[in-house]
């Protein structure tokens, strides 16, 4: 009786083991099939770097700025130049600029209401200030 019970138990365990293996293999296969089906039905969900903008994505996957589309900070076409020479040049040129016809129209620019709080300055040789803000 005891032997019979033991054999029965071992046989059941073997059967259970086989069943588990089949279930495991089946679930792996089904997962693959479902993944493939989902990838073809919802291409926006794939992890491949796509150029299209379809589908929801996290910020990590697809940031695409319209104005700056590259993913590296871009250096300028030309490096800044030392301003000291420019300052000297500006000072040298200033008298010539005073007689330029284009500048005679400056007072006319002061009349629009939009500029009332910001007086127009003629030929601003002073540099614009860039600092922390």
């Amino acid at each position: 009786m005891a032997i019979h019970t033991t054999h029965t138990r071992d046989a059941a365990l073997r059967e259970l083991g086989r069943l588990n293996r089949w279930l495991l293999a089946g679930s792996v296969a089904l997962t693959g099939l479902f993944a493939e089906a989902a990838a073809s039905v919802f291409p926006g969900k794939t992890v491949k770097p796509a150029t299209s903008h379809r589908g929801k994505r996290t910020a990590k996957q697809a940031p695409t700025a319209t104005s700056t589309s590259t993913h590296a900070l871009q250096p300028p076409a030309e490096a800044p130049r030392a301003g000291a020479e420019t300052q000297t040049s500006a000072q040298a040129a200033a008298p010539a600029q005073e007689s330029a016809p284009a500048q005679e129209s400056v007072p006319a620019q002061e009349s629009p209401p939009a500029q009332e709080s910001a007086p127009v300055q003629e030929s601003a040789p002073e540099p614009v200030v860039s600092g922390g803000s």
Partner: protein
């Protein structure tokens, strides 16, 4: 009548016309090369800034960003302008390896920056901010989900976005481009010292004084350079400082600690193809600390890094300072 030698000589520095006003909580400087274009250029810049303020301000209850933050954890539709601002912010995070992070709104609030800067208590010599703000709530920019096709955004629950690290410079780029298109001439737009140019530059280029504070005078300690195109931006821990919980705070937050960054640099100026890129690089350099000089050089970005002792490091082709400027720095 013979031409006078003065007028016969080509001008070395073209004339420019300027308007100055306040917007986005900071100063706006507009310079144009054609006097007749100043008024329409200004109107265009004002329109751009007004639209961006309404879309991106963290301090306006009626802004799109405030509504988006209030709906954190849920998918929310946004307008095209805010969507673009968010994409720019995410790209900034990517390009800086997360040093410039748009999900730091809570950290800024915990540091006391929870209202317009002008309403904060000024710093008066309090000790530096704590090394970390432990109660911070931050998911990180990678968790921000943008769906451009449907213009929907999902901010992670508990997170608040702050676009201050990228939106101002981006606004300068947009405003300069729009103004130049309307004006048909070269344009410079400065928003609190973040400078964007568009169109042809004056002879000799656009002259810029880089210094600690954008409110400084053109004679403030620093260096004068000129650019012919692109943008130039400066970030500094020496300005926008306030008092909170007995400490001096500033607005450059280290994403790793959630606290104002403790950096070896005081002020960093960078030139790039856009003001946005220049600003991202300058802010990231402050967060990155000493290795930033090599990072900027590797990217080929001309930059001037001023340390806390006043020593200048120039990389990427940034011009050398005149002796007098170096002493004044």
């Amino acid at each position: 009548m013979p031409a006078s030698p003065r007028t016969a000589r080509p001008p070395l520095q073209s004339a420019v016309w300027e308007a100055v006003w306040e917007a986005l909580g900071t100063s706006v400087v507009l310079r144009v090369r054609d006097p007749a274009s100043l008024a329409p250029a200004r109107a265009t810049v004002e329109g751009e800034l007004s639209a961006i303020d309404l879309a991106c301000s963290r301090f306006r209850a009626d802004s799109e960003l405030s509504r988006l933050n209030a709906r954190a954890g849920r998918s929310t539709q946004v307008g095209s302008l805010l969507m673009e601002a968010l994409e720019v912010a995410v790209r900034a995070a990517e390009c800086s390896d997360g040093d410039v992070d748009p999900t730091l709104g809570r950290s800024l609030e915990l540091a006391g920056y929870d209202r317009d800067f002008r309403l904060l208590a000024p710093a008066t010599g309090q000790p530096e901010a704590p090394a970390a703000i432990m109660a911070r709530v931050r998911a990180g920019w990678r968790e921000l989900a943008l769906d451009r096709a449907s213009r929907s955004v999902r901010v992670p629950a508990g997170v608040k976005l702050d676009l201050g690290a990228s939106a101002k410079a981006w606004a300068a780029d947009r405003a300069a481009a729009a103004a130049a298109a309307v004006a048909g001439c070269g344009v410079l737009v400065s928003l609190g010292g973040d400078i964007a140019t568009s169109g042809s530059a004056p002879d000799g280029g656009w002259r810029i004084r880089v210094t600690d504070d954008h409110r400084g005078r053109p004679s403030a300690p620093g260096q004068t350079v000129s650019i012919r195109s692109g943008g130039l931006a400066t970030s500094s821990t020496a300005v926008r400082r306030w008092r909170h919980d007995g400490h001096t705070m500033h607005h450059i937050i280290d994403p790793r600690t959630g606290a104002p960054v403790r950096t070896s640099w005081r002020t960093v100026s960078v030139a790039a193809t856009t003001c946005t890129d220049a600003n991202v690089a300058a802010t990231a350099a402050l967060v990155r600390g000493l290795p930033a000089a090599a990072w900027l050089a590797e990217l080929g970005l001309p930059a001037r890094l001023l340390d806390r002792e006043g020593n200048v490091t120039a990389v990427g082709g940034w011009p050398a300072e005149a002796a007098a400027e170096a002493l004044a720095a």
